[in-house]
């Protein structure tokens, strides 16, 4: 069970992390109950920090501000991110940059067909001196785990990682080890048509809060990239701009963002509309709606607000929902894709707001 030989540590070998060893037991309770008053106090800092992070990412990845913003949104919403695109457009770069800007532990796992589950989670080994089994933590024990080319690994190994993502703990030999907090998996994936891949099943795609397609940069960004990247990797110039505690506080602040009942209703209506859409074989699951809500809260916080607007929901809807929707055959023949169907749903579902509740004031809820 020698996992090391198959696990490629690109930047930081296992155990040597930027901010000390991972703290499997360090996960404190989510500081979500502090409410908006506390968050209000945090807000100025919050926004500043976010700006710093995004700026730092943008110095490395040219012309992908939107993707960077979404990645940060997912981090603050405590979700996991799936970057999907053809090779060479900067998926891994984005993941690494995001990890670098935050002063936290980062591991990278290069997924290969022969990677084993224990190579991800860790393994118990027998200590002959103490006559006990000792748990040697796997690379999943980090604040940010980069799973490169996740669809090249076998289904079994994929499952191991995905289980960690959902449970936020690892169980080996009957013992559970809690993962780091914050914990975020940034997985990259080549489109499934590429050779030598095991596409993620729908159920596992559902574990990722958001999927981002990087897309090719535009001509100017590419020119810039050719200029800046030729001598030295810009990644090496990146210095952490936020500490892990800071990120934790930010996550707590996001947690305290207020969601009006009208917004929840909007989310539910969106979900139902996808389930009833004639072009969709599978609509958004309840878990998807929960993640949509969390992502919307993070987007609202990133926008400097302590309450969610329907616009926040709409802004993350494509990233959060598109990879979970399964198109009907007739939609495929009609040349539709999940994003276009989702756009039509967004254009149809009524946005409810205070106007509609004028008549029921003050019994209204917002």
């Amino acid at each position: 069970m020698d996992s090391q030989q198959h696990t490629a540590w690109s930047e930081t070998p296992h155990g040597s992390v930027l901010s000390g060893p991972p703290h499997p037991d360090a996960a404190g309770p989510h500081a979500g109950g502090q409410g908006a008053a506390v968050q209000e106090a945090l807000m100025p800092d919050f926004h500043e920090t976010c700006e710093r992070i995004l700026e730092a990412i943008n110095t490395v990845i040219d012309g992908k501000a939107e993707a960077a913003r979404l990645a940060l949104t997912v981090l603050l919403a405590q979700g996991h991110l799936l970057l999907e695109d053809v090779p060479g457009v900067g998926k891994t770069m984005l993941a690494k940059t995001l990890a670098r800007t935050i002063d936290c532990s980062v591991h990278r796992i290069q997924f290969t067909p022969d990677l084993l589950p224990s190579d991800v989670t860790g393994v118990s080994i027998y200590n002959q001196d103490k006559h006990t089994f000792e748990f040697r933590a796997g690379p999943v024990f980090a604040n940010i785990v980069i799973g490169d080319e996740i669809n090249r690994a076998s289904a079994k190994t994929q499952s191991a990682l995905l289980e960690c993502m959902e449970e936020r703990q690892v169980t080996v030999d009957g013992r559970s080890y809690v993962l780091a907090d914050p914990f975020m998996v940034v997985a990259t994936q080549n489109p499934v048509e590429m050779e030598g891949t095991y596409p993620l099943p729908e159920a596992q795609r559902d574990r990722f809060m958001a999927r981002i397609s990087m897309g090719y940069p535009d001509a100017r960004a590419e020119m810039d990239m050719l200029g800046t990247h030729q001598s030295v990797s810009p990644l090496s110039r990146i210095r952490p701009v936020a500490g892990v505690d800071e990120v934790r506080a930010m996550i707590a602040a996001v947690h305290g963002v207020y969601v009006a009942p009208a917004v929840k209703e909007y989310i539910v209506a969106l979900g139902r509309a996808t389930r009833e859409h004639p072009f969709l074989r599978l609509g958004a699951s309840p878990r998807a709606l929960l993640q949509l809500l969390r992502a919307a809260k993070a987007a609202a916080a990133l926008d400097g607000r302590n309450f969610v607007l329907p616009d926040d929901v709409a802004s993350v809807a494509d990233a959060v929902l598109a990879h979970r929707l399964m198109l009907d055959r007739k939609a495929v023949t009609a040349g539709e894709n999940a994003s276009s169907v989702l756009a039509s749903v967004l254009a149809r579902v009524p946005v409810h707001g205070g106007t509609h509740r004028l008549s029921s004031w003050p019994a209204g809820d917002g």
């Binding site: 139902r272 004639p278 616009d311 539709e336 756009a343 254009a347 149809r348 205070g354 917002g366």
Partner: protein, 795 residues
């Protein structure tokens, strides 16, 4: 509370086209069900026509016509064609069904009206007109009347459909059902029982429910098309706010219809037989439904439909409109004389009439009919020359009924009648021999086989032992004017014999109470039973002097006025060598001619020979009433209250026209007051201000889509150029305040800028409105002011 989750599109019916094209059209059952509901509702309401159309044989035709209409509109909707096309399809369905049912011989392929249609249609319409004018409801069914009923109901269905579905005003569409139901209700009081009303109401509720459901359905059948937000699907199925506004608008429309329709329908608001007795639902002018309208007019407490005539006769004249001589059918009616009518009323060239011009009594009468509308001309009997008429008129040599053709009616006519009569005296009449029945048309002496026993018996009892016809006639008149009989306009209604037909006369002779129709019919029929040819004349009793005197060619004409209270019927009996002679069997009405006075012997000073007309002369009473100077003859026919009414009507119409403006202004004022009131929660103020801004934007043609968030809406307004200058930041402030009010935690003090004060928000709404106004064209500005769309917006 606001969770309006869209209805599921029916997956089963959403079968895509197999060739890979996007499924643009989805055959949903919605349009068909909606049209079915409309058709059912109209048919239910139409069932109440049973009160005015005899039997049920007409119903399948009406149902077919309605079904054809609704098939057309439903097809239009199912194929997602524009509403106008659906309307035209419905119309085409109506025309096709009518052609197939009634005009098939002249059609192409059975459904398209062919070249001979007009020729085929004309007699049917004439037949229908005759039916309406002359028969008493329930009328006997004939193709003409069924054709008109089908057309009327079909058009109603089309109208109802259009109002309820494309115009999305299902509540208003009830007016159409009401119109359908009101036809029998007005024509024949009490003809709609509770069941008729319940059926119409059920139909109405069905339309309401179906329309509610139908409009709540997702209309965006092409799910990829993002433009669906403006369709009904994006709208809220349950209107919450603004219901009052719409209710008021609908109410205003209703009032407008009530005010505008009566003046628009000729003869509805005044005239001789107003408010329904001349309802033009069958598209023909009907003026004198001799029995029922007459009874209705008499029963009406007030007088209306005043008209005047001036005559050189020494006394007032009976003005005759039409005679009923065909008494054997289920309904009394004028004999069908289309074939024998002659033209040229300027000179009625019957030899006898022309002879009387020389040796009879000649009377000149100037008649101004004002608004009285009827195809039959009012004239004193017997007309010899009529001048000054407009339109085409024909006369019947047998009855001297004068009738307009090709739509000519009496409305607004002023004409001069020269009438003649033989010098009539009691002695002359008494000498008349029993009539040679063969000499006159048999229509005047026909009696049905199944005549009620009581008529025979009464005649036998009254006149059985008399042999001279005039004595018999006098005896019958005396009997009817006797103490046993009472004049009552209400008794026939209560007794259920307020119709025409022999059963009615039987019932009248039993109950011994009725009004002129019953008395005159009884006398006419009893006269026939006794062997005297007879007919019933319908028209007006002499009326009253106005006190005016017209001078025409050196002769003085005394002016009289008649109105609805003078509507009358009297019998005319035929005597050999003398001709038709009028009697007056109705007690308390009209004037008994001297020759028919019960107490024989002319009164002193009277010249019985001059009793040319029924309504004996009063020669001892010269017309000395002074005429008010300057009272022009025409002015007598004007209603002095008319200007007042016109002003009131104009005011009301103005009010109706301004109703949307007033409603919108009222709403704005309310919000303004609310915004300026102290102690109002900031969140509430922001919501109110935002609602006002949305309404303003809708007024100026920039309504917010249902799926559009406040942010998108504000961005769109800014980008579209509909706003510029200081209005843009004002809109931004309003939007921010609204978002905070609608979505932020109400339990927390608002972060960031404190919720703006009501005054500031109010100023911002003003700025946005000014900005919208500045960017709008003049048409949009007018529409925003006088027809604000926000009033009709669904929320």
């Amino acid at each position: 509370m606001t969770a309006t989750v869209e209805r599921a599109p029916e997956r089963t019916s959403g079968v895509p086209v197999p060739d890979g094209r996007p499924p643009r059209r989805r055959p949903a059952p919605g349009p068909w069900l909606m049209s079915g509901a409309v058709a059912l509702a109209v048919c239910l309401a139409a069932a109440s026509l049973n009160g005015v159309l005899e039997g049920w044989s007409w119903l399948p035709h009406v149902v077919l016509a309605v079904a054809a209409v609704e098939l057309g509109t439903a097809a239009g909707r199912a194929l997602r064609w524009p509403a106008a096309v659906g309307f035209l399809l419905g119309l085409a369905g109506l025309v096709a069904s009518l052609t197939a049912m009634f005009l098939a011989p002249a059609s192409l392929l059975g459904v398209v009206p062919g070249p001979g249609t007009a020729r085929l249609l004309e007699p049917m319409l004439a037949e229908a007109q005759d039916t309406v004018v002359s028969q008493v409801a329930p009328v006997l069914v004939n193709p003409g009347i069924v054709l008109l009923a089908c057309a009327g109901i079909g058009v109603s269905a089309l109208l109802l459909d259009t109002i309820a579905v494309p115009l999305q005003m299902p509540a208003t569409s009830g007016a159409v059902l009401l119109a359908v139901v009101s036809v029998p209700a007005v024509i024949k009081p009490g003809s709609i029982g509770p069941w008729g009303f319940a059926a119409a109401a059920a139909g109405y509720l069905l339309v309401l429910g179906c329309a509610h459901w139908y409009h709540g359905q997702p209309a965006t059948l092409d799910p990829v098309d993002g433009s669906g937000s403006s369709g009904p699907a994006g709208r809220r199925a349950h209107p919450v706010a603004g219901q009052f506004g719409r209710a008021a608008a609908v109410g205003a429309a209703g009032i407008a219809a009530a005010l505008v329709l009566p003046p628009a329908v000729p003869g509805f608001h005044d005239g001789l037989f107003p408010e329904g007795s001349r309802l033009t639902w069958l598209g023909v002018p009907t003026g004198l439904n001799p029995v029922v309208s007459l009874g209705e007019n008499l029963r009406r407490p007030g007088a209306f439909g005043r008209m005047t005539y001036a005559t050189d006769a020494p006394t007032g004249l009976y003005l005759r409109s039409v005679t009923l001589e065909n008494l054997t059918g289920a309904r009394w009616r004028p004999s069908d004389t289309r074939g024998s009518r002659r033209t040229g009323v300027e000179s009625i060239d019957l030899p006898r009439i022309q002879a009387l011009l020389a040796d009879g009594t000649v009377t000149t009468t100037e008649i101004s009919t004002s608004s009285f509308t009827s195809p039959w001309l009012l004239a004193p009997y017997a007309p010899a020359r009529i001048e000054g008429l407009e339109g085409t008129w024909t006369w019947d040599p047998r009855t001297l009924n004068i009738r307009g053709t090709a739509g000519t009616t009496t409305a607004g006519q002023e004409y001069t009648v020269t009438s003649v009569a033989p010098k009539l005296s009691r002695a002359l009449l008494a000498s008349a021999a029993p009539a040679d029945v063969q000499a006159v048309d048999e229509v005047f002496s026909e009696l049905p086989a199944d005549m009620p026993r009581i008529i025979k018996d009464t005649t036998e009892q009254v006149a059985g032992d008399l042999d001279r016809p005039f004595e018999q006639a006098l005896a019958i008149q005396r009997y009817l004017r006797g103490p046993d009989f009472t004049y009552s306009e209400q008794a026939p209604v209560d007794g259920g014999y307020d119709q025409s037909g022999f059963g009615v006369v039987g019932a009248f002779l039993e109950a011994k109470a009725g009004y002129c129709v019953h008395f005159s019919a009884a006398m006419a029929i009893m006269a026939r039973e006794a062997g005297i040819p007879s007919r019933i004349a319908v028209g007006y009793a002499p009326g009253r002097r106005t006190g005016g005197v017209l001078v025409r060619g050196g002769r003085e004409l005394t002016q009289y006025e008649v109105d609805s209270r003078d509507a009358h019927a009297w019998p005319e009996l035929y005597f050999d060598d003398i001709g038709w002679v009028a009697f007056e069997p109705t007690p308390g009405r009209g004037v008994v001619p001297d020759y028919a006075q019960a107490n024989a012997g002319p009164a002193p000073g009277q010249a019985p020979e001059d009793n040319l007309v029924p309504g004996g002369p009063a020669p001892s009473a010269p017309d000395t009433a002074p005429e008010a100077p300057g009272a022009a003859p025409g002015s007598a026919g004007r209603d002095p209250e008319q200007p007042l009414w016109a002003a009131a009507l104009g005011g009301c119409m103005l009010l109706v026209l301004l109703a949307p403006l007033l409603l919108r202004t009222g709403r704005r004022r309310r919000r303004r007051t609310e915004l300026l009131s102290a102690g109002m929660p900031g969140a509430r103020a922001a919501l109110v201000a935002w609602a006002e801004t949305l309404d303003d934007a809708a007024d100026y043609g920039q309504p917010a889509g249902a799926a559009e968030s406040a942010r998108e809406f504000a961005a769109r307004l800014g980008a579209s150029g509909a706003l510029a200058g200081p209005a843009v930041p004002a809109l931004g402030r309003l939007r921010a305040a609204y978002e905070r009010a609608a979505y932020a935690d109400p339990g927390q003090p608002a972060g960031g800028p404190e919720a703006a004060a009501g005054k500031m928000l109010l100023d911002d709404t003003g700025q946005v409105r000014a900005g919208l106004r500045a960017a709008a064209g003049w048409r949009q500005r007018l529409a925003a002011r006088f027809l604000p769309r926000s009033l009709f917006r669904r929320r």
